[in-house]
């Protein structure tokens, strides 16, 4: 026999969530300003040169990085991302498909802006050798928080990445002949070195809930309170349109503010709250990644 709360959740999810949000709480017990706990593990795939698994709330994502040698273009190497989801394309709800699309856009945006790794630092021998990092993202489960978990996993995997040191056997080559990678002789040493990360961007997702003041005159009702809800679950995401994704790095550097449409406009004061929450989150996630790196080194 289902409890009245469960029945309400099925019949009128809006009312169910409203009763919690009015007290600045969420059904799973946390405050609306709290994020779900993050767990990060590095080096989970031993065959990969760098890998990370992140569990954030209900989302579980594994990222692995495989470096390949290639020829640089415009003085920089490359990072290619491929997202593989275990969610069946037909079964996945619209909301999940939209989340997946947004996650891919977010990753591309971060790579294109050199937010984690400067692709110019992937060049080993100028105009001849550079690394191409093939990033495989495997989405294992989703309950909201997909973009957040994936960005953290990508940062973790790139932080974990150990590149072999390579050099050209024969440095003096004929300048007339064009350089052919397939014919080049490379010296690959056993030594491994880490990539220098430019920044530790962290993604945070929010939804907004417009709370109307029950009492008061017409003037008061117009000044409705816009609540920020951190890290919404899947059901909440589907219920409330207009999720906002913010990616911030160190020292107030913002890499992305994305809101894919919502009925209510977002005021500057709401965005202020959002960015300050995101900045706090960035600091705590950076600590988690650094701790994981230290454990890996031991």
């Amino acid at each position: 026999m289902a409890s009245p709360a469960d029945l309400l959740r099925v019949c009128d999810p809006g009312e169910y969530y409203r009763s919690f949000l009015e007290r600045d709480l969420l059904p799973d017990g946390r405050a609306t300003s709290e994020f779900r706990p993050l767990s990060l593990q590095l080096g989970v795939i031993s065959s990969a040169y760098g890998s990370a698994m992140v569990r954030q709330g209900g989302a579980c994502v594994v990222v692995s990085v495989q470096p390949e040698v290639s020829v640089p273009i415009d003085g920089s190497g490359f990072i290619v991302v491929n997202v593989d989801s275990s969610l069946d394309a037909t079964d996945a709800s619209l909301s999940m498909q939209a989340q997946l699309e947004d996650t891919v856009a977010c990753l591309h945006s971060l790579i294109d802006d050199d937010a984690i790794v400067n692709r110019k630092s992937l060049v080993v021998v100028a105009e001849k050798i550079a690394w191409t990092l093939y990033v495989e993202v495997l989405v294992l489960s989703v309950d909201g928080g997909l973009t957040d978990a994936t960005v953290s996993a990508l940062v973790g995997a790139l932080a974990d990445l150990r590149l072999p040191s390579i050099s050209l056997k024969d440095e003096a080559t004929d300048d007339d002949r064009p350089f052919e990678l397939s014919k080049a002789a490379l010296v690959i040493s056993d030594a491994r070195h880490r990539l220098e990360l430019v920044d530790y961007p962290v993604s945070s997702t929010f939804v907004f809930h417009k709370a109307t003041c029950a009492d008061g005159d017409a003037k008061k009702r117009k000044r409705a309170v816009m609540r920020c809800i951190c890290d919404p679950s899947e059901q909440l995401l589907a219920l409330m349109t207009g999720a906002c994704n913010v990616v911030v790095g160190r020292q107030g550097q913002v890499y992305r503010v994305n809101r894919g449409g919502g009925g209510e406009g977002v005021s500057i004061s709401t965005l202020d709250t959002v960015v300050s929450l995101a900045a706090k989150r960035q600091q705590s996630v950076e600590l988690v990644i650094e701790q994981a790196l230290r454990m890996r080194a031991d």
Binding site: I79, V80, V81, N82, T90, A98, E101, D102, V104, A105, H108, S109, I111, D112, D113, A115, T241, G242, G249, G252, Q253, V254, Y255, R256, V257, N258, R259, G260, G261, G262, G263, E264, G265, V266, S267, I268, L271, D272, V275
Partner: protein
């Protein structure tokens, strides 16, 4: 017409905000006769065509029981592979889809499909914002019931901390960040409903860009009014 304005930021520093006007808007409604609604829109040098089909029949995969399914197709001038990192920067589909789903009265036509196709013809800067504007004009031309009108505005952040409204491609390429906003107008109040950013910036830049975009949007909504008056021969 360039107007230089000095404004005091919170920490007492003065920063110059260059408030260039929006580029000239030119549009022609109902350019495609087979579509229910269409528009050819030109903003400065950027030209975009948009067409709306619907509300109409849909396949089972695009049928929702309680609302209309909005399908947005963005056609870039040059097709690029899915994994192309640069291509997602130009993709306006998610932004446009999200905005349409909130602005179109989707509860009015359940189990139907509303298809919006946007074709890029020339990109001379601010492409995504122009696509947003074209999308709304096409929806208006088709007579799709909407809860509010919306438009797109782009703002670029230049390396010298200057904000440029509706930048042409040459300036856009030199920008450290580009902001694309979707703004809605309801009861003469303009609010920002969607946004997307490229590049890196400080939050203060973003706030200033939002204010700039909200002011500029009023011009676009005036343009909508003119277009619709012309269409319905009221002007």
């Amino acid at each position: 017409m360039d107007t230089e304005m000095s404004s005091n930021t919170n920490d007492g520093e003065t920063s110059a905000v260059s408030m260039t006007k929006l580029r000239t808007l030119r549009a022609q409604l109902s350019v495609l006769h087979r579509a229910d609604g269409s528009v050819a829109l030109q903003q400065g040098g950027t030209v975009v065509w948009a067409a709306v089909y619907g509300p109409g029949d849909s396949t089972a995969s695009k049928r929702l029981n309680d609302r209309a399914f909005i399908d947005v197709l963005f056609k870039p001038k040059v097709a690029r592979p899915v994994n192309d990192i640069g291509a997602t920067k130009e993709n306006v589909s998610p932004l446009l889809r999200g905005t349409c789903e909130s602005m179109v009265d989707i509860r009015r036509h359940p189990r139907t499909l509303i298809e919006l196709v946007v074709q890029e013809l020339t990109d001379d800067g601010g492409l995504r914002a122009v696509c947003l504007t074209a999308g709304c004009l096409a929806l208006l031309d088709a007579g799709i019931p909407m809860t509010a009108v919306f438009c797109g505005v782009s703002v670029a952040l230049m390396p010298d901390d200057r904000l440029v409204l509706d930048p042409p491609l040459k300036e856009q390429k030199m920008a450290t960040a580009l902001f694309t906003f979707a703004l809605k107008s309801a009861e003469s109040e303009v609010e920002m409903i969607s946004c997307d950013t490229n590049g890196r910036f400080q939050f203060d830049h973003f706030k200033r860009a939002v204010s700039l975009a909200i002011e500029a949007a009023a011009e676009v909504f005036l343009f909508y009014r003119e277009m619709m008056q012309r269409k319905l021969s009221l002007g």
